[in-house]
Symmetry: C2
Subunit: 224 residues, 2 copies
DNA sequence: AATGCTTATAATGGAGACAATTAATTTAGC
DNA sequence: GCTAAATTAATTGTCTCCATTATAAGCATT
């Protein structure tokens, strides 16, 4: 285990990202540089640089002279985001399966085990999304498309907020678990067509449930 | 025409991006903050922030405490980048065509005119790539997928270097012109299937020629 | 001569102070 | 009383300077 030196900017990035993803910073909320700097015991420079990086990830919107705010996706943006993911991840998977080695499949099996175990424990959402990301990346590793994988990971950072919501709120957990298991089985059988179909269903299905939830929430806000 | 105030960071971003795209800054070249700051008459802060933004665009690679370098794509990375573009742009186009209004088609026609005219003039590559981007975006506007379009534009900033090379070097110009004209005709006829096929061919064809050029270049460097 | 350690040098990372811009508030004019 | 200009306050943008880190050069040891 090598010790990794982290610059303050990186620490701020990680802290703010986690706060946005777990809801400690709410969507639409303005992010004041001075306040964040004081809270995190750094100067405004690393805060500014962190905000810029988070903007590139789509988690923050940065307007010159006006300040940064945590981004909020409306229903149609969530829709588009998940469509994109479905297309890209299906493509990655189909390119990957034929090249997946035994070792990689073994690794995926292990990750899936830990993923399923994590569900019961506390602050499940935190560790779950990291393990989930690792599991998916493992399945895509055969595709040998690093740029596409990076892109998918970036998109997933944005989708993560909504996926966590889904997990905590509805039966997202049990469904995800069974779909994940089935997906791995299909990969082992090298059944590309069915694996890809399941992947799309996995992503678009969660999209539908998340959209439904968002629409409900919008309604209840309007009523108020 | 409203005057737009720009921050120094934005000016540095634009200057450096253009220099990377037109080759004034070569791939692999280290980008020293102090040198750039002096050259552009600003302090190192806006330079650093600009480098971070360019990293998000994929034009620069930034390593903590080591510095930034202009990124260089090898043949397989170019390959992957153009595959990605082909998939995303084909998808955008197919979703867009059914919704393209007469006004948009008119706008595209005009942009295409200016695009074709720009080819003869001097510093063609500069204006060409901007007009080309506008033209493509116009054709995609019916898809109503702002995030996907943003993504494609980001990818194109990266591909732009190689496209310019292609234009200047080989017969990329004449081929691009005829393909662009034909593409617009197919859009007007609402012929989704053929338009999408042509789009893919347009992108993957240029990929092949660019790859060939890059391989040739690598060989000649090795010989030396 | 080669290896490992110490010291010098050059670059980046970050803090605090000041300038520029925006938004809010007050004041002047009708 | 209301609108518009002027002033003030709050926030961001940028500069200068210092701290930290990485690389290169020199030195001693074997």
């Amino acid at each position: 285990m090598t010790i990794v030196y982290k610059t303050r900017t990186q620490l701020v990035v990680e802290t703010l990202r986690e706060k946005i993803l777990n809801g400690a910073i709410k969507a639409g909320q303005p992010l004041r540089q001075a306040a964040l700097a004081e809270e995190l015991n750094v100067s405004r420079i690393p805060v500014r640089e962190a905000l810029l990086q988070l903007e590139a990830e789509g988690l923050v919107s940065f307007e010159p002279h006006k300040g940064a705010t945590a981004t909020e996706l409306n229903v149609s943006q969530v829709d588009e985001l998940f469509e994109l993911r479905a297309m890209l991840e299906a493509d990655l998977l189909s390119a990957s399966i034929p090249n997946l080695s035994e070792a990689k499949l073994e690794e995926a099996t292990e990750l899936l085990d830990r993923l399923n175990q994590s569900l019961g424990k506390e602050n499940a959402a935190n560790t779950w999304s990291e393990l989930n990301s690792n599991y998916h990346n493992c399945l895509y590793s055969g595709a040998n498309r690093p740029q596409t994988q990076d892109l998918v990971n970036t998109l997933n950072k944005n989708a993560d907020r909504y996926i966590r919501m889904h997990l905590l709120w509805a039966g997202g957990i049990s469904k995800a678990e069974s779909e994940h298991n089935e997906l791995l089985a299909l990969c082992k059988q090298k059944d590309v067509a069915n694996a890809v179909a399941l992947m799309k269903q996995h992503i678009l299905g969660s999209r539908d449930e998340i959209k439904e939830f968002l629409i409900e929430r919008e309604k209840s806000i309007e009523l108020k």
